[in-house]
């Protein structure tokens, strides 16, 4: 099944740019989702940073972005290099199985034997050389027929991430650090997370999946045959004049399901999954506490300030301020505070309450105030 070129030459990156990032409201919105924001102060949006991180692995012509129609212009503005054949637009969100599966099906149809790797558009990664080394190992494991993932060595008992329980080393050609996968586990409670970190055989699930496109689709077809049939129908019509008609007929009917459930968990149970430990800095920047942590380097006393023209006057305060309004923001004696100041909505909370922001967004939806969502 292996082609003649080196596995990395057959590698194609896929960036599913979906999800609003509700826990980052009112910064993240339906029309300005998390991946379009610069949350690190690098001057680049997260999706741009993701793109630049993948270019050394697959080259700029082999990175496909799957996104909602509404975000095409914004994404192309920050990634002008993005070629038309690498743009996949969703007419409505259908979760990660459909998004990544469609990319895999299109690429497999164009280029049989292609190896695809999917990487979230809105994560933050440091020490990119280590990231690339881990992905290269994962690509080698994919070439050997496995579905590979990169799991992050945990640095603390985080309760906001899912974990991967690892089993025995299973060194492969080009992937010497590959481990077997026992199971994918959901976000744990603190006690369980502490046990995981102490035990040393759990990694954070960073949602990176690398495998041959055909292997991925075959695995998905075992649990979701109708979904994969739909994806293959879309892929066959994709580069033809029939694309629009088939999308209209098929896409709305596709099942919404996360790829963790349709592929990763069943593959782990069948022993088809391998994990490459990644010892690089990684964060899914899931909430404002995470942003505060990213910027403070763990120092509780610091105040992180995000926003191009932020005007902040702080006295004896710590936490994070996100300024999008240009207004003067004055903080006096507030600790671990989260202030997000946008032109039409203001959020004031604390790091400890950062996970509850999603509940507010839900309440706003229910009360019909979607003008600010």
């Amino acid at each position: 099944m292996t082609g003649t070129e080196a596995p990395l030459d057959r590698f194609y990156s896929v960036i599913p740019a979906g999800g609003i990032g509700s826990r980052l409201w009112p910064l993240s919105r339906a029309d300005a989702p998390k991946f379009l924001h610069d949350l690190t102060g690098s001057g680049k949006s997260l999706v741009r940073s993701t793109w630049e991180r993948l270019v050394p692995l697959s080259g700029p012509d082999r990175i496909m972005v799957v996104m909602g129609r509404a975000h095409r212009a914004a994404v192309e503005a920050v990634i002008p290099e993005l070629a038309d054949h690498n743009v996949v637009l969703e007419s409505e969100p259908k979760d990660s199985s459909a998004a990544i599966g469609l990319a895999a099906a299109i690429l497999e149809h164009r280029e049989p034997g292609v190896i695809v790797g999917s990487f979230a558009a809105d994560h933050v990664i440091g020490q990119e050389r280590r990231f690339r080394r881990a992905v290269a190992e994962a690509v080698a494991a994919a070439d050997a027929g496995y579905i590979a993932t990169v799991g992050i060595t945990p640095t603390e008992p985080a309760i906001g991430f899912g974990y991967i329980s690892c089993t025995e080393p299973m060194p492969l050609d080009g992937a010497p650090s590959a481990l077997g996968v026992g199971a994918f586990v959901e976000k744990p409670d603190l006690e369980t997370a502490e046990r995981y970190v102490r035990g040393g055989d759990h990694l954070w699930n960073a949602g990176m999946f690398i495998s041959r496109a055909d292997v991925l689709l075959e695995q998905m077809a075992k649990s979701k045959p109708e979904l994969v049939a739909g994806l293959r129908e879309l892929a066959e019509a994709w580069d033809s004049p029939r694309r629009g008609a088939v999308v209209d007929a098929v896409w709305p009917r596709l099942e919404k399901i996360a790829i963790d459930y349709s592929v990763a968990e069943p593959a782990a149970a069948e022993g088809k999954l391998t994990v490459i430990p990644g010892d690089f800095d990684w964060d899914d920047v899931g909430d404002f506490a995470s942003i505060a942590k990213l910027h403070s380097g763990g120092r509780k006393s610091d105040l992180a300030i995000l926003g191009e023209n932020a005007r902040v006057l702080a006295d004896a305060s710590s936490g994070v301020v996100v300024s999008q309004s240009g207004r003067l923001i004055s903080l006096i004696g507030v600790q671990d505070i989260v202030v997000v100041d946008t032109p039409d909505a203001l959020l004031v909370t604390t790091s400890a309450n950062a996970q509850r922001v999603k509940a507010v967004v839900d309440a706003l939806k229910i009360s019909g105030r979607s003008d600010v969502l």
Copy 2:
């Protein structure tokens, strides 16, 4: 010296509408000082409420307002009844001795034997019938030649107010509850304040002074002869075509000094001061903690919301929100918080830090950001 009419018939109210209220920034501004805001949720500005409280005492034609030129239009908008002869405009702020002294000098010149009472434009008073009863006693004491003040029976060991130490009862005709005054004391520390409240012979200094205009000016002339000479010069020219020229020549040279120092303290030392205890609700609404307290009725768990079109979504939060921007304000898990949201400036602090707001304003002045002051 006493006229033939009842003392209250010779009574004239004076409202010195000065002071920005820096501790209420960014709500209070140079162009929108505290007295122009509705801080109680009554639907009326503080200066309007002050006016309405005085009408039953002196009638609408006998209330003089001393204010900065810049605020005339705003004051007249909320007090359309204000007659031209009751408007005294300051070309620049000169503190309370000049403001109240000029009103007294003008009124004494127009109407010898007049009794004047000065009442801050930006205080909150409840139980107005008790207020009026106390002022009526003070007017009777003034008629007897005293400088009278109304001191508020303290309800807690406040450290944000000055205190009046009382001596023996000195019942006067029409003022049966009058007490002698030992001294005026500055804002105390908590321990001292607790001792004052326990002891029962200290009242809060609410800055109300009631006396015959001539008595007030004579007392002021003892410590500040040049100031009073200037005020008399202004008063003589006030109702003549020379007013403008004399104001230009005299007003800029007047000394800036609080009436507490030029009149109250020396008069107390000379035994010329009497105090009428007032057992009505009173607050100078000096900071946001005071606003929060006013609105919560002392319940720590409450969230007070001020602002005509406030849109606030609060979860497990308490304190005070002042909304002037029309934006949606969302609070999650913040206690005793103070959020003041205005179109160009945002303040986030806590009740415990409310007194420190002035320091921020000072910092803004120093750093040249007076656009938001």
